[in-house]
Amino acid sequence: MEVAAAESAALLELRGIRVHGRGRPRLEAVDLRLRAGERVALLGPSGAGKSTLLAVANGLLPPEAGTVLWEGQPPERSRRARRRQQARIGTLWQDLRLIEELSVQQNLNAGRLAAWSWPRALLNLLLPLESDACRAALARVELDPALLAQPVARLSGGQRQRVAIARLLRQEPTVVLADEPLASLDPRLAAELLALLLRQAAAPRALLLSLHRPDLLVGFDRVVGLRQGRLRFDLPRAAVDDALLQELYGGEGG
């Protein structure tokens, strides 16, 4: 009974989220549940509030009204406990937020900072730590382990995307949030990267990925449409048709 309840509890749940904005609210009455193994695409035109929603989901932005539940729990009051909760939520930022001055390995280990003690954080700046785990993470994003010693600033755009995903894997999150990770990539690279992300989001983990291109929905389980801060639909992918998309993007000039 207890086990079944834990399984059905959503990894991430938003209830009645409202975020204040200039003029109209940036988010209004948003409800969303993300269960283990689910891969959800967040669609919407520019300015619909996709980034805001993700910022609320990872705890960066406290909502004005509504509840965020992480693995069924509201954000803890104590900062330490809250950090432990946030460590279970990994975000793939649109600008990647890699530390340009550090090497690939140091960047990958930055994903472990939430779990690490202070001396270890310092030591990571001096010595190659946990090389095996880092090599494994690189292998999972199909990068050459020889890159570990390279400074991040020297990598190509595609390599940087993969390093950012590998850092996410090092964090070992249960929920992966991704903010338009495909926006600035050419079509082939975007498809490869999306496949990679979808593969990493298998069973105990869940994925919420924001997109502005409805042509990349293959492989997602559910699609959530956001427009002007409000949820317009939350449907299995098969139920999303052109008419629905037309309505979502309508009035934006295609």
């Binding site: 930022w93 550090l102 090497s103 994903g111 202070w118």
Partner: protein, 541 residues
């Protein structure tokens, strides 16, 4: 694997460990009650009208000296800066030789600390208000000249060449092509120089050249701590006011006007600056009149006793190796403390909201306190030696470095730190990983520049009888041994120039790497360029 930048920022701070280990042996036992009274007096400064009146008078004199010395340094430094710029000479007559020559010559006044200038001039012409002004103006002028030249020579010359290729006469082309890009750097550096001038004017006062410094020293020596604090708080208020005002001016003039807010108007900024500059000149004259600065006294030299029968064998017999060695040790210790402690302090207070406020206050106090007063205060507790001198020297420099570090951190985008925080990383490691890497190189480069300044400043704490060349200098001055004084000043100059050369190399190494930052000029290090590039990139709201 390459050791990452943030580690180099933190490494010098480890010097605290041996310092703390040595500290217990350095106490001479007494003095705690004095320190207690001193600390208590901080919250109960004297509000006696007589005291306040003399504080106000002293502060007025100090500020006036600082302003005049600063104006003089600009009047000297700006033309000399143009005259020592390679670009200017190359454009005007096709060769760089004269620029290099003038640069070399200017290195000499620059290498002698303003306090030394003050003491030497004091001996030459007696106690006159003009002495302090000149003592500030000469070395500062040479510094301004160097920075202006460095800034000028670091500018790209493409536009200049384009204008000249279009037939513009050289001076007009220089003005049009290089003037506007030069302005932000010069402005922000001049503002910084004004802050330095206020500190140095106080310092000169401590050594008897008048103004608030003199009163502070007298209060300290007569153990009138409450009066001392009245002066210190007043000085702090003026200093913060000045720093805040300059920061506002910088923002006002250097940030691009945001879209839609106010009409920029062609050339309005230049007109405002020109007006401000013109307003400064009568202000200077007024101040000079008020202070009764009389430039003519500078021509009436008193004969120097003892130079003609200089005993050069005695001079050679001074323990030079030991003097130089302890001066260098003092510099290294103070530099490590100042450079290393600022990032450590920020990391330590990172977990607390508002934790930066006490740190900022500590730094403001550090910038305000004349180091010889700190040294005197420390001597209540500690035996004279390298340690109290290094602590006294490190404190103000910690204040300066710390503020620059904060400004640098705030000028960089918060994205990486934010990302780490939202992944559950604690505040301090998020700061270490998210913000420090981006500023590490420029901070260290500025630290190298600061170390070279500290070498020059060892004279200031040495004069309080602590250690090294400075204390020898004080003895020689007291004994009117002019031969020794000259030799000591010369050694100081050589040391400073060598230090400058080394710190220049370190900086080039740090900043000239594969991801060379926007051509950080040498004399300025960091501050001006951060501001200037910030102005280009985005208006801070």
């Amino acid at each position: 694997m390459r050791v990452a930048g943030p580690v180099w920022m933190l490494l010098p701070g480890l010097v605290v460990v041996p310092v703390l280990l040595r500290l217990p042996q350095s106490f001479h036992g007494g003095g705690w009650d004095l320190i207690g009274r001193f600390a208590l007096a901080a919250v109960t400064p004297s509000l006696d009208p007589t005291v306040l009146r003399s504080v106000a008078g002293g502060l007025g004199v100090t500020v006036a000296m600082a302003l005049l010395g600063w104006l003089l340094s600009l009047l000297l430094g700006l033309p000399l800066g143009l005259a020592s710029s390679r670009t200017v000479w190359r454009s005007l007559c096709g060769q760089e030789g004269p620029a290099l020559l003038i640069r070399r010559l200017l290195a000499i006044p620059r290498s002698i600390h303003e306090l030394l200038w003050g003491l030497l001039l004091l001996q030459l012409v007696g106690l006159q208000p003009a002495v302090a002004v000149l003592a500030l103006g000469l070395p500062f002028g040479a510094l301004v000249a160097r920075v202006v030249a460095d800034l000028l020579d670091a500018l790209p010359v493409g536009t200049l060449e384009a204008l000249r290729a279009g037939g513009a006469p050289t001076p007009a082309a220089l003005l049009t092509a290089l003037g506007p890009p030069l302005l932000p750097g010069v402005l922000s550096y001049s503002g910084y120089r004004l802050e330095c001038a206020l500190r140095s004017a106080t310092l000169l006062g401590v050594f008897g050249l008048g103004g608030l410094g003199t009163e502070l020293r007298l209060s300290l020596q007569s153990l009138e701590f409450r009066e001392l604090w009245s002066g210190l708080w007043a000085l702090l208020a003026v200093m913060l006011l000045l720093e805040g005002g300059l920061a506002r001016l910088r923002r006002h003039w250097l940030m691009p006007p945001r879209l839609g807010l106010g009409r920029p108007g062609v050339g309005r900024r230049s007109r405002q600056m020109l007006l401000a500059l013109l307003a400064l000149l009568p202000l200077g004259l007024l101040l000079a009149w008020g202070l009764q600065v009389d430039p003519r006294v500078l021509l009436r030299w008193q004969p120097l006793p003892g130079l003609e029968q200089g005993d050069w064998r005695m001079v050679l017999a001074l323990p030079w190796a030991q003097l130089v060695g302890s001066t260098l040790a003092l510099t290294a210790l103070a530099a490590c403390l100042a450079v290393g402690l600022a990032p450590w302090l920020l990391l330590l207070v990172a977990p607390w909201r508002g934790g930066r406020i006490p740190v900022r206050l500590l730094w403001a106090l550090g910038r305000l306190w004349p180091p010889p007063l700190t040294a005197l205060l420390l001597l209540f507790l500690l035996k004279p030696g390298v340690l109290p001198a290094a602590l006294a020297l490190a404190f103000p420099n910690l204040g300066i470095l710390g503020r620059l570090l904060l400004e640098g951190l705030d000028d960089h985008p918060a994205a990486v730190e934010e990302g780490l925080r939202s992944a559950g990383v604690a505040a301090a490691p998020a700061l270490l990983y998210g913000r420090f890497p981006a500023v590490a190189d420029s901070y260290l480069a500025y630290g190298a520049y600061r170390a070279d300044v500290m070498l020059r400043e060892t004279v200031v704490v040495g004069l309080t009888g602590a250690t090294g060349l400075g204390s020898q200098l004080v003895e020689s001055l007291a004994a009117f041994a002019w031969d020794q004084v000259l030799a000591l000043v010369a050694v100081y100059a050589v040391l400073t120039l060598a230090g400058e050369e080394i710190s220049d190399r370190v900086r080039r190494q740090l900043l000239g790497g594969p991801r060379a930052q926007e051509g950080v000029p040498q004399g300025l290090g960091w501050r001006g360029t951060v501001k200037a590039s910030g102005a280009g990139a985005s208006g801070r709201s």
